[in-house]
């Protein structure tokens, strides 16, 4: 028993080191950035170390994407972990988590400034921004933004995590190239919720089939939190969900089928989305503050009923 515990500690330590190295090497905690752009089916980036992957949605359509961190993690594991540890890692079921986050531009709460930042490769605004720009200069603003924010909260997730694989899914933004502020706003307002849910399903299937993950958890922040809860209702492939400050509308949460761990701040003023109680009079204030914070309204209801 004691031996087993020591081994487990070693696994955790090494898996954590593995994750950190992955982050360090690729300067992104993003593992999979799935895209479903209407104008192009080409993968989003050709970043060093990325592994091109494709998964299918329930409707049979392909979602092209790239795996980053897991590719790096795999390499690191080969280099630094001996076979016995590797087999132990597999023995514990290869658990994986999917991490979701929509736009939360970390810099300025203004879509236009975010757009400029994300589309100007000479802008050294931040490591993650630069990395994204290097990956693909004309990538959609919304997609950049996802990765930009992922680099804070999700990077922390990975840094804290002993779970060996984390996934980030680009929350499917159907639509056209969104470089203009108005359009970026429009894209976020009209986030393809059923599509995003299907992307979570695809990611979970991918993890279970290609990465031999016995179980897949999902967590997310704000809109990603709302999507995590949606996944606990709608995505059978997900085994547990941990939403942060987001609650979806248009999905019956009494139909939750997986264990949930929710995290919400009592001072949250985003009424009807993540506040402690419905506060009718603060509804407008909540919407405005959410919009300022994320450059887009946190509407979590669009289209979910369809799926």
């Amino acid at each position: 028993m004691a031996f087993a515990l020591i081994k487990l500690q070693q696994i955790r330590f090494r898996a954590r080191a593995c994750n950190l190295l992955g982050v360090f090497h690729f300067q992104t905690a993003a593992v999979i950035a799935a895209q479903k752009m209407s104008t192009s089916s080409a993968p989003i980036a050709t970043a060093e170390g990325a592994v091109a992957i494709t998964w299918k949605r329930a409707d049979g359509s392909d979602v092209p994407g790239y795996a980053f961190g897991n590719g790096g993690c795999r390499t690191t594991r080969k280099l630094h972990l001996d076979i016995s540890v590797m087999s132990l890692l597999l023995a514990v079921g290869n658990p994986a988590i999917i991490v979701l986050q929509e736009w939360c531009g970390g810099k300025l709460p203004d879509a236009l400034l975010c757009a400029e930042q994300f589309t100007d490769p000479t802008n050294a605004g931040g490591g993650s921004t630069r990395t994204c720009c290097n990956m693909q200069k004309n990538w959609r603003v919304t997609a950049f933004a996802h990765l930009s924010q992922i680099s804070t909260e999700v990077r922390s997730t990975m840094a804290h995590s002993h779970i060996q694989l984390a996934l980030t899914v680009h929350l499917g933004c159907a639509g056209t190239l969104g470089l203009e502020a108005e359009e970026a706003h429009h894209l976020m307002s009209n986030l393809d919720w059923p599509g995003a849910v299907e992307d979570i399903r695809g990611a979970a299937r991918y993890l279970k089939s290609s990465e031999a993950s016995a179980k897949v958890g999902v967590t997310g922040f704000c809109m990603g939190g709302a999507l995590s809860l949606s996944a606990a209702v709608l995505v059978d492939e997900v085994d547990a969900a941990a939403p942060f400050y987001g609650i979806p509308q248009g999905v019956d949460l009494t139909g939750v089928k997986k264990p949930i761990q929710g995290h919400y701040g009592d001072k949250d003023t985003n009424a009807g989305f993540s506040d402690p109680a419905v506060r009718r009079h603060l509804r407008l204030i909540g919407t405005v503050s959410c919009r300022l914070m994320y450059c887009a309204p946190c509407r979590a209801s669009t289209g979910l009923k369809k799926s």
Binding site: G93, P95, A96, I97, C104, G106, K107, L108, P109, Q149, T152, E153, S156, T157, H160, H162, I163, A214, K215, V216, G217, T219, F221, C222, A232, D239, A240, A242, F244, Y245, I247, Q249, L253, T254, V256, K257, K258, P259, I260, Q261, G262, H263, Y264, G265, D266, K267, D268, T269, N270, A271, G272, S274, P276, A277, V278, R283, S289, C290, L292, M293
Partner: protein, 70 residues
Amino acid sequence: MQSVNGLEEKLKASGEPYELFRYPSVGHAFMNATTEGIARRLKLGQGEHDQEAVDLAWSRLLGFFDKQLR
């Protein structure tokens, strides 16, 4: 309209195991520990940054996945 109180009722009705953690000192996006995020939250009246709450949430999250995914 949904709220955390409403969510709790629904999770209870679902019959699935759930934990709902509320953090009294913080507001929306409290896990975002970037300087910009902290400043913006203050400006928008979403509470001050509380690293203790953040650390607690991380530890809970990882404990949850550790339990559920193994």
